[in-house]
């Protein structure tokens, strides 16, 4: 299902009138998307109507209005991020707020860009703008990942919880330990290592990429495959059984590691979104103070 289909199927209530899950993107018939467009339109109008001497910038009356609106939006959007963490709110209100957060955040790009009047430099003002753009860009990544990964996750998991997936692997580990008993020392060590040291999760890069170079299970599998070539007939069955178990474990590992990777993709943007938001707040404060520090109320027509 594409993102578009996902959006279009997020209907509010079915024909039976039962309230179903509703995506934050379509909440209340795109109410906040409409508000977002209204804000963008108003900003553009304001920008066009104000014709200062020289290039447009943040110090004109329109610039001040856009700047106050932009700063207000930033503070409000941050406050939402704080509030969202408390689930004491009713679910419906949470969706409403998330929808507002997303669409007002997107509108902020236009408001703030027009506030700058496209005049940029190597200063704290442009720093604040760049940080804001990073926050919004990471937020957009977040939206995309929230639309994309839950479906992939469901497909990959097949109704299993993380705990269940781990239990499967633990079960295989137990079986492996029993099954590896008749194997030669070297292969048995590889299998034991596969049981004890196979990584699930780990560094941020491993979690995101799902790539685990030097995986102990892979190594054991290769070791068993190599040993199988010159094994005595009476031990063939034991090797085959370990091989099957390792194959099984590899498949289980792939599943949980893919799951971890999807989850990481859904989380990682927040590690940019949240910290840069706070850097942005600091830069925004410096920006406002520096402007007021030297030009109190010097609004140019």
């Amino acid at each position: 299902m594409s993102v578009g289909e996902q959006l279009s199927t997020g209907a509010a209530a079915g024909p039976d009138g039962v309230q179903r899950h509703q995506s934050f993107l379509v909440y209340d018939s795109f109410r906040w998307l409409k508000i977002c467009f209204a804000i963008i339109l108003a900003s553009i109008l304001l920008y066009i109507l104000d014709e200062p001497y020289g290039p447009r910038y943040g110090g004109t009356w329109a610039g001040y209005i856009l700047g106050i609106a932009g700063a207000g939006l930033i503070v409000w959007l941050t406050w939402f991020g704080y509030r969202k963490r408390s689930y004491l709110d009713l679910h419906g209100r949470l969706v409403s707020r998330l929808s507002a957060h997303v669409y007002l955040g997107l509108a902020l790009i236009v408001v703030a860009t027009l506030h700058t009047g496209f005049s940029f430099g190597w200063n704290v003002h442009t720093l604040a703008y760049v940080l804001m753009c990073l926050v919004i860009a990471s937020g957009v990544f977040g939206i995309v990942s929230y639309v994309r990964y839950p479906r992939l996750m469901t497909e990959n998991r097949g109704n299993l919880t993380t705990h269940e997936m781990l239990s499967h692997i633990a079960g295989i580990n137990d079986e492996l330990r029993n099954a590896a008993v008749p194997l030669d020392d070297a292969t048995a060590t590889l299998v034991e290592r596969a049981v004890e040291t196979t990584d699930i999760g780990g560094s941020p890069w491993r979690q995101i990429s799902g790539k685990y170079p030097g995986c102990a299970t892979e190594a054991a599998l290769q070791g068993v495959t190599a040993a199988e070539a010159n094994v005595t007939p009476e031990l063939e069955e034991a090797y085959r059984r370990v091989h099957l178990l390792l194959d099984d474990k590899r498949a289980q590992l792939h599943q949980i590691r893919t799951d971890i990777s999807y989850k990481a993709m859904m989380d990682v943007w927040l590690y940019i979104h949240v910290p840069i938001t706070f850097a942005l707040l600091a830069a925004l404060f410096a920006h406002i103070l520096s402007v007021l520090f030297f030009i109190p109320l010097a609004i140019r027509g």
Binding site: N123, Q207, I260, A264, A279, A286, F294
Partner: protein
């Protein structure tokens, strides 16, 4: 189908059996409670396996993802018979011979209970980014604190502690950490002329939370010119002008091109109703440009002798007349084809009108530079008596020329060429020595001779000064006959030539910049001159421009400008503001804030 399910549970060495009867077409195994045989291990799917009877044979079928092996082989569906061993996840199931009254019997045992394996696995796994050592909270703190320290605390502390010094003469600004911290607050590109002290914020920003004071500007721009004359009566506007700070019209940080805010509104605040606000000012109201701007007024010479100029409106018909006190005809000079007799090409404007060094206007036209090439004073009189072939008289010193001519005849008189006087005579006591003529007679004779030469040659209308100049007598006559004896009698220096007042700018209130219109032809704006340059020499007489009639002024009116220039927001005209043509700071009105330091 009736199936006997025997659940085996090991307690140490003991094995406990618990048998159940399950009936149905299909016996389902799984973790879910709706299964016929619930298997409570976490590793089993909600629905994991089904047992059914097909054609009298037992069949097992894999339902979910839980691995199903029959006798060690992974299967999806297969027939089973008593003695077969089934592995369903951690469970071991054995098919037994069914007792009487049952279609099938099987034993179920959890052979791989979750134990240490899962605990160890969970301890080893690090799932979730928060488990990998990333922390939103700490990186948020680091980011916010670093930004605040670098861009908030550092500039404020450096400014407050005086590390950002004002610019000092002979101390160039340095690019260093302090400059970087200071410039991090720069709200926009600093104008090019102020960039050399860009990091010295305190040069202009003397105090926090105040705008830049005039004093900061005047520290360097002390001689900036005033807008109106100090004594002119502009009523309450005087206070208003005094209260208007530099920053009202000059804004820094608005880009490399400069600080002047070229906004008509600033000027029109006063100038749109100047006749009400300052009725004693000679200026008319201006409502804007092009609409609302009055027709231009040129300054023309009304009376060169008295040095009187007047302001006349342009654009009317007939055009105003400029009377510079010179008999000059542009038409006679611009004649098509030039002057073959003088071997001179057709004259161009630039032959006489030389641009000022800045190119704004033109240098004054001067006889020596612009006229003499063609109009030499090869005025020959008494040629045979001169020791040199041509008698040239100097330009610009009429009394000197008269004196020279006088002296010439006086010398001739001394040489005895003065007239028919007796060769010898008796000398009475006290009388002058022989050889000296009686003063009365000689003086009269020299006067007569000199006057004739001056009138007929030097001041002559055809070949002398009168060709271009007016005399000081009535109707511009040269009254040499009357003035020379009078000068002799009184000893006062006579003036024979009427003063000339040649202006080089006719629109002194504006700053029309010729250099910025250099791509145009002179005749595009000065159309009368353009037309005159098309008149052939033969027809020159027909345009009846005798040298004695003053020429109409050929300065275009506002319509000529508005053909290309529009208002300040013009799109299909050159956008033009008040300051495109007019200067606010007028050098002729003295210094603007002479006592600025005392009053601000």
């Amino acid at each position: 189908m009736d199936v006997e399910i025997t659940t085996l549970t090991r307690r140490g060495a003991a094995l406990m059996h618990r048998a159940n009867r399950v009936s149905g077409d299909r016996v389902q195994f799984g973790r879910g409670t709706d299964n016929d045989v619930p298997l409570t291990d976490i590793r089993i799917g909600l629905s994991a396996m089904a047992l059914l009877q097909q054609d009298g044979r037992l069949v097992v079928e894999k339902l979910g993802t839980t691995p199903l092996r029959v006798n060690g082989q992974a299967v999806e569906t297969t027939t089973v018979a008593p003695g077969d061993k089934i592995d369903l996840g951690p469970y071991h199931i054995e098919i037994a011979e069914p007792p009487a009254g049952f279609d099938a019997a099987l034993s179920v045992e959890l052979t791989q209970p979750l134990g240490d394996a899962l605990d160890r696995l969970r301890r080893h796994a690090r799932i979730g980014l928060q488990a990998s050592g990333l922390s939103k909270r700490s990186s948020a703190w680091v980011g916010a604190v670093v930004v605040a320290l670098l861009f908030l605390v550092a500039p404020v502390v450096l400014y407050g502690a005086g590390f950002i010094a004002p610019w000092q003469k002979d101390e160039p600004s340095h690019v260093g950490p302090v400059a970087v911290a200071a410039l991090s607050w720069n709200i926009g590109d600093i104008s090019n002329t102020h960039r050399f002290f860009a990091p010295n914020c305190t040069s202009c920003h003397e105090k926090s939370f105040t705008s830049v004071s005039d004093n900061a500007c005047l520290a360097c721009h002390s001689t900036v010119a005033n807008h109106v004359a100090a004594k002119s009566d502009i009523g309450p506007l005087r206070t208003r002008l005094a209260d208007t700070g530099c920053v009202h019209c000059h804004e820094e940080h608005r880009g490399i091109r400069g600080t002047v805010i070229r906004e008509d509104g600033f000027c029109l605040d006063c100038h749109s109703s100047l006749t009400d606000k300052a009725p004693k000012s000679a200026y008319r109201n201006v409502g804007g440009f092009p609409n609302g701007h009055p027709q231009f007024r040129a300054t023309v010479v009304a009376d060169a002798v008295a040095g009187k100029v007047e302001r006349v409106e342009l654009g009317g018909n007939p055009p105003p007349i400029d009377r510079p006190g010179l008999k000059f005809s542009h038409a006679a000079h611009l004649v098509k084809g030039g002057f073959p007799a003088l071997n001179y090409k057709q004259m161009a404007c630039a032959d006489c009108h030389r641009a000022e060094p800045g190119g704004l206007g033109f240098q004054p036209v001067k006889y020596k530079e612009n006229c003499q090439t063609c109009h030499e004073h090869d005025l020959v009189f008494e040629g045979t008596d001169l020791p040199w072939p041509k008698g040239q008289v100097p330009h610009g010193d009429d009394a000197g020329i008269v004196a020279a001519v006088w002296n010439f005849y006086a010398a001739k008189s001394l040489q005895g060429g003065g007239g028919a006087e007796p060769a010898t005579f008796r000398r009475a006591a006290g009388a002058p020595a022989p050889g000296l003529q009686a003063p009365e007679t000689a003086q009269a004779q020299i006067s007569q001779k000199a006057e004739a030469a001056l009138r007929n040659v030097i001041f002559d209308d055809k070949r002398g000064c009168g060709y271009c100049h007016y005399g000081t007598g009535p109707q511009g006559a040269f009254e040499t006959a009357k003035m020379i004896p009078a000068a002799v009698a009184t000893g006062e220096r006579p003036h024979f030539i009427a003063p000339v007042l040649l202006q080089s700018r006719f629109l002194p209130q504006a700053q029309f910049d010729h250099s910025r219109h250099s791509a145009m032809l002179c005749g595009d704006c000065h159309q009368r001159r353009g037309a005159e340059s098309q008149v052939p020499l033969a027809q020159l007489g027909q345009i009846s421009l005798t040298a004695a009639v003053p020429e109409p002024l050929d300065i275009p009116g506002i319509d000529k400008c508005t053909g290309c220039h529009g208002g300040q927001k013009a799109v299909v005209r050159a956008a033009s503001t008040c300051t495109t043509c007019h200067k606010f700071h007028r050098n002729e009105f003295g210094v603007m804030r002479e006592n600025a330091a005392a009053t601000h």
